[in-house]
Symmetry: C2
C-alpha cells in the first residue's frame, strides 16, 4: 500500500486553488492581467462579458487572494497578486498547447 492521500482539509484548499482557474471566463480574466493591472470595465470589455459578471468573478479571485484590488477614484484596478499564480496559469497553458 503506497502513500496515504492528502488530508481532506489540505486537499480542499488545493482543490479551491485550482477551482479558481477552472472556469473559461476566469482564465480569460487572468490572462488579461498577466500583462499588467487593469480596471473592471476594461476587463469586461476585453473578455466580452458583463461588468457585473466580471465583478462577481473578481470577488472570488480576490477572496482566494489570486488578485489584488487597487482603488483609484471611481475605478478599481486589479492585478495578479502573486508570481505563483502566473506560473500556474502559464504551466496550465503550456500543457494544453503542447499536445
Amino acid at each position: 500500500m503506497s502513500g496515504k492521500p492528502l488530508d481532506v482539509d489540505t486537499a480542499a484548499m488545493v482543490a479551491a486553488l485550482f477551482a479558481a482557474l477552472s472556469d473559461t471566463s476566469r482564465v480569460r480574466i487572468i490572462s488579461t492581467l498577466v500583462s499588467g493591472e487593469r480596471n473592471v470595465s476594461s476587463i469586461a470589455q476585453a473578455v466580452g462579458i458583463s461588468e457585473s459578471a466580471v465583478s462577481h468573478q473578481l470577488r472570488s479571485l480576490r477572496q482566494m487572494r489570486l488578485v489584488h484590488a487597487r482603488k483609484q477614484g471611481r475605478q478599481v484596478f486589479y492585478c495578479l497578486d502573486d508570481e505563483h499564480i502566473i506560473d500556474l496559469y502559464q504551466r496550465g497553458l503550456d500543457h494544453v498547447l503542447h499536445e
Copy 2:
C-alpha cells in the same frame, strides 16, 4: 489597453485542465497516485469514498488524459500519465502550504 485575453477555446481547455484538479476527492485520488500506480479499490479505500465514486472520477481523469489505466486480470491499475500533472499538483500544494 494591455494584452488581449486568451481566445475562448484555449481558455476553455486550460479551464478544463484545472477543473480536473478542482475537487477534493480528485485531488486526494491524485495524491495517492503520486507515489505510484494503484488499483481502484485500493484508491477507494485510501481516499475513503465508494469504489463507484472513484470509478466515476477516474473516468473523467482518464478522459482528460491525466491518468493512465493498465488492466491486469480483474484489476485496473491507474497511474499519473504525465510529469506535468505531478508538477502542477505539487505547485498547487506548495502554494496552499506556504501561506
